[in-house]
Amino acid sequence: MTNSQVALLILLFPAAGAILLAGRGWRLPRIVTRIVGPGVVWASFLATLYLFANSVSGDFTYWTWIKSGSFDVPFNLLVDNLSIFMCLVITGVGGLIVTYAVGYMDKEDGPSYARFFTYMDVFVFSMLLLVLAGNFIFLIIGWALVGLSSYFLIGFWYHRRSAVLAARKAFVMNVVGDVGMILGAFALFVTYHSATYAGVFSQLQPRICGHGGPCPQATDTNSLELAAFLLLVGAVAKSAQLPLHTWLPDAMEGPTPVSALIHAATMVTAGVYLVGRMHPIYDLAVYAHGAVAIIGAVTALFAATIAIVQTDIKRVLAYSTMSQIGYMFLAVGIGAYTAGFFHLLSHAFFKALLFMAAGNVIHAMNDEQDMRKYGGLFRQLPRTSWSFLIGSLSLVGVIPFVGFFSKEQILGAAFSKPDASLALAVWAFGFITALVTGFYTGRMWWMSFAGKPSPDRPVEHPHEAPQVMLVPVVILAVLATIGGFIQTRALGFGPHLVDDFLKSAVGAQAWEGGASEVIATFVTMLLAVVLFLAAYRIYIQHAWKPWTAVVPWAQRVLERKYYFDELYDAVFVRTMDGLARVGLRYVEEPVIEGILTGTGELAEAGAHNLGLTQTGYFRNYVLVFVAGAVVVTLLILARVSS
């Protein structure tokens, strides 16, 4: 079997699983769904491993999809180290999560159970298509399909009104991004007349000539900036960055495995992948590239502050996801692509771990998600608690957990980037975010697992989840613990396997950190840990006054999530409502209804007037008849005589 066929197989496994489950799943016995649902993801994982082990790389063209004049879209898959890396994350972490879902969704009845795994497999297929696509058309198809499957899965419990509303919100926000993506692809096509990555990237003109000055022949700057900004709209919407972020917290209405897979580990990182994949463009479009870093830095801090006041455990994790993806945007925005992707990998480990551990807790608590009603779970759910603690420490960035190495590598890269005030500014944001992260993570962990059980707790004696839900959590906990040692660049020495692997696809980081970077790293970690512990003093021991008592207005602002929902409601929803009302009043009612009812009224009036001729008097009819006969006679006579 050739390498190109293996690459195609990666896509075909989940597609086949989805088709089987969609067509027959509700009639087949449940055991088939149990095996097929996660099985196809693992099959894809094996195919990806094969490509990884053989260091396959290439742009495989399978057939010409559209050919019309100079417009030529092949169906090609771009297999390089970046797409293999993404596929490993998607199928590896995805496989663990789908396996976990076998246990988590067990309460569902047969058809719903099959429907869930159909959607999951559709999602995995779409996401793989997104990262493997070798041209913009298939990128957009994958991009839209992941939005669609996300919509399906958020609204999985369609009888819950809030779930349906959240699904709709996510879909609308994602479509805003899709439109940006499509326009961006158009902009590139107009300038470079090519729909494939290879065709576009090979034509990019360098901006820096040999002696370091700008090249005079660079004429495509404006169109590149435009395309880069438009693509960024898509990335921002998919990755829930400011200002298109409001859908992600609501997306937590979906089942927890969905939150883990789509809204933490894979789909929301598609924006990071996009910027990485388009790095030849972003390297040249400096303003758009700067915007990526700024959006990431601001979102990281913004979301972390909101996470402080959330009481729903999944919402804390959702805001934390936004915040961590902000870090990745920050990294790719300053040109530290490999650091961004390392954080993507490590975030997939520890955030999937956190979500699945949270799912175990929610499962044990009869679907209660309010942390204030937990408390004291540490002794009762030891394995889940330990896993959650590992995930939390990884999120905070404590050595030796994986989050420490990836986050600190990003901060280090930003801190030490030479001659870049922007990088230093985003480092400041990232630094503060790291501290806030320590605080809200501490609050979440202590509130849920430490202290005394809350009096409102729905279950007095919870028990641990079944094996099928525990094993993936434990595997991820192990990965989150030791995974960091594949790349210890944050310490200034040791291996850097991820950097080496991705170098060929996204380029090596152009600068090296110094000793100050390592000092900054440990200062950040120490302060974050102090804040993690401070949360214990505040929320469990109640030794210190909570900060909310000092600044009550800040609590209010954060609880309202900086009034973004209200702002969008006022600006977009109300405006649209108003426009619709104006349209109803001045267009629909007078014009359209006027034309329609006018036609009816005209016919009615005509009928009435014609009806007047039907007098019912016999002689009137006869008179008309005779008159007609006379006229005809006269006509004939005139004809004959002439």
């Binding site: 016999f618 002689r619 005779v626």
Partner: protein, 109 residues
């Protein structure tokens, strides 16, 4: 074959046509101004027979029997029509005393 004689002299066809026209106009006026359904039927018969008279007159002038045959045919149809019309009238009279045809206007829109 010669036409039939009227007292040995042949009357000019135009007289027959004139008579037919007078009969037809009388019939028409009758249909228009009379209100009794029975009289209207009689007037219609009058118009029909005026037409028959023209047919016969031309038949005589042209020495061709087709016109006479056609007149016979027309009388047959008139008889059939009179049967239907009278039957309807009889039925109407059974239900009410319709002296004025304008009273029979239920089908007016």
């Amino acid at each position: 074959m010669s036409g039939f004689d009227a007292g040995g002299s042949q009357l000019d066809t135009s007289w027959f046509l004139l008579l037919a026209a007078v009969l037809f106009i009388l019939g028409t006026i009758g249909v228009l101004i009379r209100r009794n359904p029975l009289v209207i039927l009689i007037c219609i018969e009058l118009m029909l027979n005026a037409a028959n008279l023209t047919l016969v007159a031309f038949s005589r002038q042209l020495q061709n029997l087709d016109g006479q045959l056609f007149a016979l045919m027309s009388m047959t149809v008139a008889a059939a029509e009179a049967v239907v019309g009278l039957a309807i009238l009889v039925d109407i009279f059974r239900h009410r005393d319709a002296e004025d045809i304008d009273d029979l206007s239920e089908l007016k829109g």
